[in-house]
Amino acid sequence: MVTDSDLTKHLSEAQVSVELQTEDMTLNIGPQHPSTHGVLRLVARVNGERCFDVRPVIGYMHRGYEKLSEVRTYLQITALINRIDWVSGYANEIPFIVAAEKLMDVEVPERAQYIRLILTEMARVSSHLIFMASYPLELGAATPLFFALRDRERVLDLLEGVTGGRFHPNFNRIGGVKPNAGAGPTTKKTPQDLPAGFLAETRDAMSVVLHTCEEIEDLVGGNEIFRARTKGLGVLPPEVGAAFGVSGPNLRASGVKFDLRKVESYLPYDKFDFDVVVGENGDCWDRWWVRLQEIRESAKIIQQAVDGIPPSGPLQAKVPKLIKVPKGETYVRAENPKGEMGYYMVSDGGTGPYRLKIRSASFSNISMLSWILEGVLVPDIIAIMGSLDFVLGDVDR
């Protein structure tokens, strides 16, 4: 039997325990953790379920691309920079090649530009489909993974059919596209054109991708658990995002209508009709939603480009056999699936750049991790980190 005095004693003890100052604990997340998309380590101070002072520790995958580029030729660097953001290897090549072409003052033939554009958008579709697969998986839903990966496979097969590589295409050359091998010792090497049936297959694949977008929107977007875990979580105000240098879909989800495809002219995007999708609140849900819409916009661009590609024509501009880029410096940026990717290239007239500064999107995007993870619950760390869609190869370089 509980007497009154017992109850009072018990309550007073409970009161004490509520007022007790609990000790902060340092929680180490990663570097080997599936939700970190590579090897990212987070050191968080945790008080109960809230975490404060989250510090990302990067550099576990530093491969020194900027230094390596100083001792490599332009041809070799193209193969290297596929590996920066390996989910969209093709899109990494474009700003680098365009920067070299800008310094050399080379005009790229129209058909080659269209091929570049189609394949870049395919890289975007496949990168965003990976996000559509992995993000629900991190929140506990396994089915969307198979839906998204199935169609990503079709897109990657098309990429492989043209370039020969699924992840590391290494397809762009200064002035055009990769030449064929084995044309005969005396014959001039011809550039690799699209294989037969590519355009029809692409049309087919894009309609499948659009269909899958609807499926994913129903399956994931209609899921109450997914909505509850993403809506209103990890809100990034546009001015904070801009101050941290956040770019790409993460910034657009906060409502900033900024897309380098509309601003810069590194590929003929001005010939196509597409919308820049922006979110409203800048929370995890908006970041997911913006990426889903971007798949649709990219599919729209690809369909227009497949219809509008010049039926034939040169694929390679005239460039010397030994490529030496004239003295000068330039900065070319492009809208990669992850955000703004830019190369600041300084050439001293040699066969390789004197200095190559790589501005990768994920590095700037995760610089605001400690800001956005301030005071969130421990399980929400995964939900917020996943929604930022970074790749550690892109962060560490």
């Binding site: 041809l75 070799q76 193969a79 492989e160 020969g164 010792p185 090497k189 294989p195």
Partner: protein
């Protein structure tokens, strides 16, 4: 009383979910083989595309030991050694000609990053890509293919694919 309109009959959500599962199950039976997402790998094999970068084949007769591929390789995984061999003159009274002979042409596939630069820069068309991919080894050292093994890959070099229009 419930506020959620779709929770009127208990278990209706379960039946709805099962209906989707069963329809998808029957749908997959009638999907054309071409659109199947997976294949039963060791029994069924996918045909890689003609341009797929699987393994590099070497045409020993075409190689002139110029070392261009070895120098262009970004990770230096091609090892070449050669010597000059004197050839009889093509017509009587002519010069004695020297011809370079390969002693060693090894590609270390444990190092290779499959960029294809060697194939691209070869000025005598001695290197080719083939889409073969089944050459994994249990020992790392066996990934070093010597020139005879590279020559054997020559039989698998595909015709270049037909082009769009």
């Amino acid at each position: 009383m419930t506020t959620n309109a779709h929770r009127t009959i208990p278990g209706s959500g379960l039946i709805k979910g099962l209906r989707v599962t069963i329809t998808t199950m029957f749908k997959t039976i009638f999907i054309p083989k071409k659109y199947l997402a997976t294949v039963n790998y060791p029994i069924v094999k996918e045909t890689p595309v003609a341009r797929a970068r699987g393994v590099i084949a070497l045409d020993q007769d075409a190689c002139t030991v110029c070392m261009v591929c070895s120098r262009a390789c970004p990770d230096w995984c091609i090892y070449i050694e050669g010597h000059k061999e004197e050839q009889p003159p093509s017509k009587p009274g002519g010069r004695i000609r020297a011809r370079a002979e390969l002693d060693r042409f090894d590609i270390d596939y444990a190092l290779c990053m499959y960029c294809g630069i060697c194939v691209e820069v070869c000025p005598f068309d001695a290197l080719f890509w083939t889409p073969e991919y089944e050459y994994s080894e249990s020992k790392m050292g066996n990934m070093l293919h010597d020139m005879d093994r590279l020559q054997d890959w020559m039989t698998t070099v595909p015709e270049p694919p037909a082009l769009e229009k």
